[in-house]
C-alpha cells in the first residue's frame, strides 16, 4: 500500500533563516506530487505541483521553491523565511484524480 511521509512535524524558525521540508511517497511510481499551504482556519492554497522528476510548476509567486530530485521525493525550500511563510504545509500525491495527503508540517516563523 502507498504511504506518504512528511518531516519535520513542527518547525520554529527565525525570520531570514533557510527552510527545507521533505516529503516522500512509498508504494507507487511516478506519482503527481503537490505542496499546499493552509493558513489557520482557512482552505488550502496550492503552491507547487510536479508530474515528474525535475518538473515543477508554481501556482503562485512567492518566497518558496520546490524540487523533485527523485521520483518519490518532493522538497519545499526557502533561502530566507518571511513572517508570512508561517502556516501548515501539506504534501500530497494523486492517483486517478484523488489526492492523498501527508500529516503536514506546522511552520512558525518568528
Amino acid at each position: 500500500s502507498q504511504t506518504i511521509h512528511q518531516w519535520p512535524a513542527t518547525l520554529v524558525q527565525p525570520v531570514g533563516s533557510p527552510l527545507s521540508l521533505e516529503c516522500t511517497v512509498e508504494g507507487t511510481s511516478n506519482p503527481n506530487l503537490y505542496w499546499y499551504r493552509q493558513a489557520a482556519g482557512r482552505g488550502l492554497q496550492l503552491l507547487f505541483y510536479s508530474v515528474g522528476i525535475g518538473q515543477i510548476s508554481s501556482e503562485v509567486p512567492q518566497n518558496l521553491s520546490a524540487s523533485r530530485p527523485q521520483d518519490r521525493q518532493f522538497i519545499l525550500s526557502s533561502k530566507k523565511l518571511l513572517l508570512s511563510d508561517s502556516g501548515f504545509y501539506l504534501c500530497a500525491w494523486s492517483l486517478r484524480g484523488t489526492q492523498y495527503f501527508g500529516p503536514g508540517t506546522r511552520l512558525l516563523v518568528l
Binding site: G43, A92, F101
Partner: protein, 112 residues
C-alpha cells in the same frame, strides 16, 4: 477562480442529528470530491462524485451534485462526536496534473 466555497463556514449539532454542508463552484468539472480534516492533521479523502452522477452514498455519507447549479452537498447522517472536523470540497482543474481546487471548508462540531 475555480475554488469552491462551502456553506456554512461553521456548523454545530447534537450527536445523532444529521449534518448538511454545501459547496458551490464556478467552472465546469469532471468530478467533485469531499475531504475531511481533523484539527492539525492532513486531509482524508471521503468520496468522489463524477459530473455525470447526481447522488452517491458511502456509509453514513450522502453526496449530491447539481451541475446545472454548480453545487454539491454532503450529508452526514446520525452524526457522532468523532465526526467533528473540517470538511472541504474540491473540484478538478484543467492543467492535466490532476490539480484540485479546495474550498475554505465547513467546520463541523458534533456535541456529545
Amino acid at each position: 477562480s475555480q475554488q469552491g466555497e462551502e456553506d456554512p463556514q461553521a456548523l454545530s449539532i447534537q450527536e445523532g442529528e444529521n449534518a448538511t454542508m454545501n459547496c458551490s463552484y464556478k467552472t465546469s468539472i469532471n468530478n467533485l470530491q469531499w475531504y475531511r480534516q481533523n484539527s492539525g492533521r492532513g486531509l482524508v479523502h471521503l468520496i468522489l462524485i463524477r459530473s455525470n452522477e447526481r447522488e452517491k452514498h458511502s456509509g453514513r455519507l450522502r453526496v449530491t451534485l447539481d451541475t446545472s447549479k454548480k453545487s454539491s452537498s454532503l450529508l452526514i447522517t446520525a452524526s457522532r462526536a468523532a465526526d467533528t472536523a473540517s470538511y472541504f470540497c474540491a473540484t478538478d482543474g484543467w492543467t492535466g496534473a490532476n490539480n484540485l481546487f479546495f474550498g475554505t471548508g465547513t467546520r463541523l462540531t458534533v456535541i456529545p
